[in-house]
Symmetry: D2
Subunit: 344 residues, 4 copies
């Protein structure tokens, strides 16, 4: 494994970023580099007990910090960044969740504006047991405590947007961002179309686990120690035909769509998956539409952020034997990850 | 099994119904009765080859026929019908799917009105191999053929609506109807609030399998031979607090919401699941909101019908040991089903 | 005026209906008949003071009563009913409005389900001065009183739906129903596609006036004494190409769309107006799309009912001199109305 | 008028900007300054004949250029910019409109993704007669030509967003931007909450006129010679309670909401208008909700951009005699405009 480039990235508080776009890269890496990085939780680590109400201890716009940007040598618009998530480990033995005034799916918000007073702001502190792989839900007002399995993931991951736009890290879109899908777990490879030289990858908002839709607006929020392999696909990758983020696991292909209303997020994700399936198999687009209609999955990502996210998901085995994504990038990065892990 | 009431219901073509509400019951059964019934496919069996274009061989409003209504003795508004799906078996060795002009999620429709010409109308005929448990996708214009596992379910199941309304069988809502969720498979128990005396259960629209969202508008459509146990929960059931259809499997509780836009279907389903979880555990509603946020699933049902359907899904094990739904109705009906199947 | 057929229709409380579809006609009239009719307010006249909270004095589904159905001799599916609104006069010297739990645009509702408690239920009683043509807004908790001009209209007007469906009178759709647009005032002609023999016109839900969108959920609700001319256009009318309700005034053509989300209601209404403009002028559909883009208006009807309503509106003068709707039906009915009014 | 500050701003092509946020101010003015400025059309002036298809002659992201930013001395976050539109005059004797692939309300778009081919791309060139105050619609494929009255306005006007975000000029939001409402005409005062020092006003996208909703995606697009008065309200202005753009004319107060779905844009605009009306009159928020429900107007702004815009509109006379907005800023700027115009 002498040929593995491994770099560390642990930003100081001042180096944390709150947008995609605009920021200068913290580091520049060669394609294929393993990056060991640290991310803060979505509250910047300021919510530590039930008394730390987010609306009091956090200050807009200093929410949802991301680690990065990481520039990739040689990345140009039209290329695709492939980011393999090797490991995502909670950094502390606790994590938090909360309701937040006018944020969430079952409350009036700034966009779904209503005359209601906000729901009560409540914080839940979870005990995280990394050995047993669990986090403990303690209801605030009685009833059973529930041990939930850890399923760590990153809510926020993406690149600099196109057209000189700069988006708050809380906004998901074609550049990635705060998609808040539990599918973004270790073992998957995420693909992002490159919009600016270097691509400028950032990530954060680690979750010990998250329900689909993230209905109350926050997950089991945790600082993370995360390892990724950052790779580059020159030209002709996903971005060439469809600029929405894609995810590949050993078993599934996944397309994302992040917009409003939720049916449009569904349409974007399904359209991309249909297009992708047609490309990989040689099917006509209506044939691919048909196959996805019968074999596709459609879990919600988030229904709470500034844009909503839907995931369109298809088992690779339903594409036949000859379908290969990006010349086997996922398998290759899987191998790199194995090499890294076996040596760590 | 001498104590099992078993009745058959195989409607003639003239007895097929196309609405929920308005129709007189075809049969009346006692609570606990096993009903062996036949359902036609959504095209009324008229689409049998690639040349049978649905828009030519079918006639509005004679689409999506349902079998029923089945009246349940003693059912009154405020009660809940519990319908356990014992078995759903394709009736033929073929099934069909199709695009249909201005129907589907990736096409202009009558509601999402646009100036585009309709997408091409295409029919796919699937070979169904009941022994191997598969159906075969054959692309119309080249590329790999794919064998898909059978996962039979009913797209349409529900009761007479409240308030004297009558809905086309293609419309899902609080009464159930055309929810088109793959979760409506054998082994589950569906709960419907009773709105009129007898409840008036109908079902149809069998699918050999279906992707989440049913993106092209139709599934692998098949006539079915289906067995259900129909039971009655007097008062105080789900309908007492929340009139949306619910589903219970051995592992999961599921709430449905069917409306537009899709985020409102999500909200309805999540709100019901949060309310349900609070009732079963004694949690405060904000505590239930928190638990569902971290442990819930949110797959799309359909994003193509007159209303869209989302499913909110929670593993029962995350509710603690004391949570029991409707005094164990699901387990009891499971036993009835086992008794029936062992004797068949 | 010896040739004017004039009939009266003042239903007893038992004769009031709460749905479109299903009901037998109260009367049958010949095309061209003037009907003098009485309508109750949306609360069935039960809310008469600030103490009469609608949720306490009204009972679901006995809300929003309509007068009718009125069958039209010779009306068959494919024909169009033309309903000219001659006069709409408040029947009493008071009218009411109210917030209603979980109803309105700035509150959680059954569809936009949230965990909020309902907004406070409040009733406003308006003094109606028919001579001065005003109604008086009295704030309940201080601040200026405001005299508003009367602009009487019917929130609910439509025909029996297609396909055997029956909709609550509170639901707007392709059959008309509770569109709640202030454009439905005296002097206009409304067009409805006929779905069943006789057409079966019903109307109610009179408003002394209403803002666009009806944001709190109710208007200045009043029983009305209303006069309409009911006419029939055989074949080839609006219903032949597009079944959504249309409205014609001396100056404007208007198309309606009633569905969710609101952009789909906008799309339906604009699509119909573009199609209609193309038919009347001979423009290509893209040319009509262009003209409507520059000259059309798009006020909200309601954003509170079970479906939302948008109106697409175009001044007739922007269609050129040769554009004539339905062989001049509106002008002809205008003349009938004048003859009736001059003689009353 | 010796006390009138009048400055000119005519950017070179290189000085045109395509975003809100990020750019350095072109000029800095004192509050109360009259600015005579030039804006290019949304195509950057490159579409000049029916043969100049926008998708061929324009290049992403160089669309919808704006003139600015204009910094205002002393403007700080929490303040409000008041921008009075004195005059908006077409700069040329022609203007253009077009369909654009996958853009518009009656076509599949990148957000409302579908499998349709784009609608045909067509350009319409309008003759502009500034003396007669008309622009001439010439259908491309026959049918009547229509002379439309000029009603010049700016589709795009706004300030730098909060939180370091940078939005494409085509995106409307809380910062203003591409709201595309015909209400933004001469004689009105627009209010924007200040998010960054100087406020950083930019405007462009002049329209000779526009229908509500801008259904095909483009208006009668024209370069403009525009005069504005830029003023500053220190603290306690609209931004203090609600950061969405507001508009005041001699007769109306208007609130805007720009988001998706369209009902949320409606909610935002109505919520702001209710809040504003309550502030100006002393009404309780439910009383204001009631008055707006009966007297408010709700025209669509745009239903085609990256966010949709609704306008909530209320005649000032329905607020009583004592309601005064921002200490009479509109009347004061009206006087400044009169002084300027009388001297020009």
């Amino acid at each position: 494994m002498s040929d593995l480039d491994v770099v560390q990235l642990a930003p100081t508080p001042e180096q944390l970023r709150y947008t995609f776009g605009a920021a200068e890269p913290l580091i520049t890496v060669r394609p294929g580099t393993v990056v060991e990085l640290a991310t803060e939780d979505c509250f910047g680590g300021r919510v530590r007990s039930a008394e730390d109400l987010p609306s009091q201890v956090c200050e807009f716009p200093y929410l949802n910090p991301v680690t990065g940007p990481i520039a990739v040598e040689g990345a140009e618009p039209g290329d695709t960044l492939a980011v393999h998530l090797v490991d995502i480990a909670p950094a502390r033995d606790w994590a938090v969740s909360a309701t937040f005034p006018h944020f969430g799916a079952l409350t009036a918000t700034h966009s779904t504006a209503m005359l209601h007073e906000p729901l009560e702001e409540v914080v839940w502190v979870y005990e995280v047991d990394r050995d047993r792989g669990t986090c403990l839900f303690r209801p605030r007002r009685g009833g059973p405590e529930i041990e939930l399995p850890l399923d760590p993931m990153h809510g926020t991951i993406g690149v600099a947007p196109a057209g000189g736009e700069v988006f708050a890290s809380i906004t998901p879109g074609a550049h990635g961002g705060n998609m808040d899908t539990p599918e973004m777990r270790a073992g998957t490879t995420a693909y992002f179309g490159v919009n600016v030289p270097g691509g400028l990858l950032s990530l954060g908002d680690g979750h010990c686990r998250q329900g689909e839709g993230e209905v109350c607006g926050t997950a089991v929020e945790a600082a993370m120690r995360t390892v990724v392999v950052v790779d580059l696909i020159k030209g002709g990758g996903p971005a060439a035909t469809q600029p929405w983020p894609r995810i590949e696991s050993d078993e599934f292909l996944m397309s994302t769509g992040s917009t409003r209303p939720l049916e449009d997020a569904y349409r974007v994700s399904q359209h991309d998956l249909v297009t992708w399936a047609a490309e990989l198999t040689g099917w006509d687009s209506l044939d691919a539409y048909q196959l996805v209609s019968q074999a596709g999955l459609a879990p919600a990502g988030n229904v709470v952020d500034t844009n909503y996210t839907m995931v369109a998901k298809l088992a690779k085995r339903f594409l036949g034997r000859d379908a290969v994504v990006a010349d086997g990038t996922h398998d290759r990065l899987r191998s790199t990850a194995s090499a890294y892990l076996s040596q760590r």
